[in-house]
Structures are given as C-alpha cells and as structure tokens.
Symmetry: C2
Subunit: 416 residues, 2 copies
C-alpha cells in the first residue's frame, strides 16, 4: 500500500512500517492507528479528481483507505448516504445550520457497514474464508451482510439481549449466530477465544485497526457534501468508541491531506445509564466499567474497548460530552421523524438528543454549522420505537382503531 506509512500504537507509541502487522500492537497489546503518507496523498487525491468520480460509495476515497490497488471491492453500496439540511428540526433546536447524516440508509441500515465493508475487503485480500465479530447488533449485521455479498462465511457473537429484528437480519444473511448468555463484555471475550482457535478474520473493533478507517469515510463524505468546508460541530452517539474515533480520524486525514482547513469539535453523546467515556472525559480520569442501563442497545457498552481512542478524539477536537436519558432519546426519535422524515433507532438518534440538550444549555452557538450523525435505522428496533409512540391502544399514540363503518369514522376524525 503505497499510501500507508505505518501503524502506530495509541497506547505505547510503537511504530510498524507499512501498516498493521496483525491486529493489536505486538509490544503492548494496544490499538493501532494507521498513518498515511500525506505528502504523497496530496499528489494523488485532489478535489478535481473526486469531482470526476461517479462512484458514490465509500470507495471513491480509496487513496485515503488502507486497501491495495488490486483489492476486490464489495458489491454493496456502502456509504454515499445523504446529508440533509434539517431546517425545521434546526428551528426547534435553535441551530440555524443543522444537517443530518442519515447512515440508516446503508445496505444493512447502519454506519457500521463502512467498517465491515473495509473488513471484508481486507479479509478477502489476506485469504480468509470466514470473518467473525462480537456485537450488540449493527457491527454484526453489517459483517453478515457484507460477508454474504463478498462470498465469505460469517460467525457472529451476540449478547442475548440483542433485539429480534437484528438477529433475524443476521440469519437471513446466512451467518452462524452465537447468542451468549451474558453482557457485551462476556460476548467479546468468547468471540476472541473462538476467533483465535478457528482462525477466522477478526472484525472486532477493539482489535482491528482497519475498522475505524472504514468508519472515517463518513467524515470524508460530510466534508465533500459541504463542499470541503468542515462543520463546526459533529454530534454522534458513543458506545464502544470506535465510531467517534473513526469520525475524528476522517477529519484529521482530510486536514493532513490539505482538503479542509479546520477541524470540527466533536459532541460525544452517551446514555446516562451507560456513559463510561463521557464520565472519564468530564472527570479527567481513566475509563472505568459501568452498568449497561439504556434502551439504546447499540451503545450500551459498559467496558468500551476503543474508549481511549474516543477520549483522545473528544479532547483533541476541543469537544464536549453530553449524557441523555432514555426518555430524551425516545423524544428525539419522534422529533426527528416528525420534523425531518428520518426514522432512527435509539442509539441512532442519541446524537441528536444530545445536541438538543447541548443547544438548550447554550453550549452551541446559534450560527454554528452542525452535523448530527444518525447512526442506524429505526426499523431495526421497532419495539423501542413503539415506546416512543406510546401505547397503541391509546389515541395519544396517533393510532385510531375504527370499524369499517362510514358514519362512525367520519364523525370521529372530525374531532381530530
């Protein structure tokens, strides 16, 4: 890979030329970060070149990705998600220049498709026939879908609380799903042992340095969609930490490649019931385990494996941390649906919930350009969405039950 200089350990600083030797740092076990040859990239990756590219997917940014020129690219359309200007939502939040990045329109309906797409490219290139991960759901379905499209087998370890819609999606993609009676951490440990024993490609975000490289493409897109003017703020929900770290890496890479001339501040939003990253940020202390008490299952991660990368990202960006309750998350779900026509899953709208709270606390200037990343589609977890709409047997939910009788109906609706 001519464009990759080295992989550097974020924990001990050890440097490995030409990219990651395997997964973690052989010296200390820390997570590696991929470092590019930016002077070289400046010569091959320009706005003019991008302008001429028809490919709308994440692969339009291949000069900034750790893939070989002859790598087989996956057939699914990963990336190229829309960035909506959200005027009516912005009015409600008191933010004049608000944009929504709807990642729920990715092939398996979440931002994690970006990481999994990169993972299956690397797995294929390195000769694996199967890939595996542990996940609360979206990493899993994205790996299963992208592996299926690429002709790879997949083995998925899920904690038993994963919603049924997410499990079904995995099984339809032909994955072997191992449901672990335990939490995310138990699931993670088991997957690690099995992956080692069976020699599958490891798509765990704690281990695999290439995943945040896939995720960073969401930032490359945001920047391009804003005509290479970086936003002032980017709000996103945080669970394991890999996504916010990837978002930060994307903007930093663009900056280093000379394509944007400033960096945004990150707004790290966690659920009050599970906010180990934000707690560490606010108290300036190491990340410590927390319970996983939130409806937003995709970010219910008590021991975030990419927490250090996430903390570094929030701090480097001069960002802020916001915690939101489950009720605030459910309210944000309705607000996004009603004002923007965007249906996000609980973790998907958590960033917007946090943005709303930060705006109410006057922590966001009214004229700032703000992007809120909706990380996953609400169709993945309609049971939670139902909690947002309220009891279906009550008209408060918006649902009216009537018999097919004209007169009754017409009178009834007249009162609405």
């Amino acid at each position: 890979m001519r464009n990759v200089l080295a992989a550097v350990c974020v924990t001990c600083g050890a440097e490995y030329e030409g990219g990651a030797p395997v997964y973690n740092c052989p010296a200390c076990g820390g997570i590696l970060e991929i470092i590019y040859d930016y002077p070289y990239i400046k010569t091959v990756f320009t706005r003019e070149k991008l302008d001429g590219r028809r490919d709308p997917t994440m692969w339009r940014y291949r000069e900034l990705l750790p893939i070989e020129e002859d790598s087989q690219l996956p057939p699914l359309r990963v990336g190229g998600s829309p960035l909506y200007r959200a005027e009516r939502l912005g009015e409600r939040l008191g933010i004049r220049n608000l944009y929504l990045k709807d990642e729920g329109l990715n092939p398996t309906a979440s931002l994690k498709d970006r990481a999994s797409a990169l993972a299956v490219v690397r797995a294929k290139k390195e000769g694996f026939s199967a890939a595996a991960c542990s996940s609360t759901g979206n990493a899993a379905s994205s790996l299963a879908g992208n592996a299926a499209a690429m002709g790879l087998r997949s083995f998925i370890f899920v904690p038993e609380r994963a919603p049924v819609g997410k499990l079904t999606q995995l099984l339809i993609f032909g994955a072997t799903v191992i449901s672990v009676k335990g939490n995310y951490e138990d699931t993670f440990r088991l997957s690690a042992a099995a992956i080692e024993k069976y020699g599958w490609y490891n798509r765990n975000a704690a281990i695999n340095p290439y995943l945040s490289e896939g995720k960073k493409t969401v930032s490359l897109e945001i920047a391009e969609q804003l005509n290479f003017a970086a936003p002032d703020y980017v709000a996103v929900s945080v669970g394991d930490g890999c996504t916010i770290a990837g978002i930060w890496k994307g903007f930093k890479d663009l900056y280093a490649a000379g394509l944007i001339d400033k960096l945004p501040k990150l707004i790290s939003v966690q659920a009050s019931g599970c906010c180990p990253v934000n707690r560490a940020f606010e108290t300036n202390s190491p990340i410590a385990r927390m319970e996983e008490n939130t409806i937003a299952d995709s970010i219910a991660v008590g021991v975030p494996r990419n927490g250090d990368k996430a903390l570094l990202a929030i701090r480097e960006s001069g960002g802020l941390a916001v915690n939101v309750t489950d009720d605030e998350i459910l309210a944000a779900m309705k607000l996004l649906g009603k004002t923007a026509g965007v249906f996000g899953e609980p973790a998907g709208v958590t960033g917007t919930a946090g943005l709303k709270k930060a705006a109410e606390q006057n922590r966001i200037p009214a004229d700032a350009v703000v992007v809120s990343v909706v990380t996953g589609n609400g169709l993945k977890d309609t049971a939670s969405a139902q909690k947002a709409t309220g009891d279906f047997s009550s008209p408060q939910s918006g649902l009216i039950h009537i018999p097919p009788d004209m007169d009754i109906r017409v009178e009834y609706l007249g009162n609405r």
Copy 2:
C-alpha cells in the same frame, strides 16, 4: 408544465389537455395516464445532460416528470437506489446477467417512496396542507415520511393486519393512523370517503395518476445504470398493479424519448394465495376478486385498483405471469440474503421468487439480461423473516445459544 401534453383515460380514452383535471376521469371514473410531449422532451432531455447532473435522486429525471419548474422538491433522497450485478445468485438461478435493484434503501425503505415523493410535491404545489392514503403499509410509510420531510400533515388508513413495524414507522413520522377492522378494500373505501369529506390530498394509487409517474423513475434509473441498454426482462411483485404499471410507463417514456431502443418483457409475480392480476392475464378474462392469503402483505390485494393498467403493461410487453407460494417467497428471502447480502421483505423478494421459478421452467433464456426489483426492505417485517430462518430455538435457524463458558463453546463450534 411545458413537457406534459395531456392525461388520457385508460378506460374510455377521453383526453384532457395539460394533465389530469383532478384525479380520475371525469367522464367515466377510469384511471388517467400522463402523456408527454416527446418531441419537446427529446430536445431538453439527453444523455449528455444527464451525464452532467450530480443529483442522484429521482429528480434528475425532472424533464420526464409531471412537476413544474418552480415546484419545491422534497429533501429526502428518494431514488438513486443501487443496481447490483448478482453473480452468485445468477449462478443459482441459471441466469448469467442478473441484476438486483434494491429499492429497500429508499428513505422509508421501499419503492413506494418514489410515488409518495411525487405526491407531496404535487400536494404542496396545489396548496394542500395534508395528504392521505389507504395502504397495506409501504405506501403509507412512504407518504408519512415524505409528508413529514415536506412539512405536510398525513392521514393514513391501514387494514388491521398491517405489521407492527410498519405502524410504528408511521407514528414516528407523526402521521395520524386510522386502523380499519377490515381488509384492504374496506380500508380503501373508508379512506376515499374521508378524503372527500376533509379535503386532503389523495395519494391513493387507484385515483391519483401521478403516482405511477413517480414509480416509473425506477425504470429510468435501471436504464441509466445499464448505460441505456434496456434489460430483456424485469421481474417484479404485483399487488395493486400500480408498481408494474409504473415500471412499464418508465420504459415506454424512455423509448418514446429516444433514450432506449427496445422494451423489456415484464415478469409479473404474484402470490398463489392472491393472484387476481395473473389469473386474469392467464385466462384472458376480466380481473375478479380473490381472497388475500399470503405472507407477502404488501401485495395481498384482492381487488387491485390498478389491475387494468397492470394487465395492459404485461400484455404490451409480451411478458409472463408467475405465481409463487409463501414457502417459495420465504426461500427466496434466504437466497437473496445469503448470496447477495440483500434483505427484502416478503413482497420485496416475491419478484425474485418468481424469476427463480420461471428460470427453472426454462421460460427465461440463460443469456438474457434480467433485472429483479426488490421492492421493500426486510427490516419492515422481521416477524415474517423469522419464518424464513426457522425456529430460533433450533440450531437449524443458524442461531446457537451458549453460556459464556469457554470450553463448552469451543467444542460446540468445532462441530459446525
């Protein structure tokens, strides 16, 4: 609208200059079809012009759409869905040149977004503040989502069997949902009466001639994605008949505008338990009511309101009709997921199920270029998808339950 010549009644042939006067034909109540000024369109709608357009949505085809130049366009990204070359699925089906059009990646996860997006543009232009429809689900959610994004109210009439995921989606979009204790036909009748009484914009496919104009954009995209070589066959599921009619209209418009030089044959696929259109086609008789016995709820339409338009389309194209059982639909769902990484809802994969059957019956030449339209996302109805995967308590489903204990797990997986 400089590009629209007239609206013509498909039943009595009456012609109305400048487009549809209201909804149905004032003379006979038949459904109208929009006729364009093709010689004019040839001068303003060229491949070169399209090549220069960045907009990936259905609005890139605006010269072939019944909208004014100053019409406000909806913010959601409707259209621009991917066309995947499905090699491994093609091998399984014995079709060398097979493509999948994944309409499940539209904003509310079905092809019907195309019709609803056009409807809300027309509703806004004509000064309505609310729009309404009756629907088994996808027309409903697409109207609710697109109306929300456009700042319109929506009133949705659904039959009581609509899956909970679809209802939830509507309510999140802020729609008022009227659940009718009856079938699709009862629901339709009620919605018509309420729409008349309250003066809402009517987005019912039986009434509104503009909806198939929105739907036809899927064909414009397919043609453009195939570099303006029309496919030999297009397979699609048929319920009310509006979608297949819209698909046909799209290819005919492109042909009339000189952008393609042949027309595809349509493969009309219905569920064996509800196939009034196919039965009429095969027996060369008028459409007669059928029971609605199929898992594919989106196409469970016993009295198809656009049946005549659909029949005409299949016949004009020299197409074929295929009926599939619910088991064949569920098998197609797994096949699509496993071989292509595409998760469709039951009605969404019915077209592929029919294509498989037609190929097995040697009704499709092996070298034909075939497009199978996946009309909706499987996440909309995971309860049905679960029937495809089998009982979650059985390992046959692909799901293995294990305690978080290393040794047990490792041995167990070793036997897979």
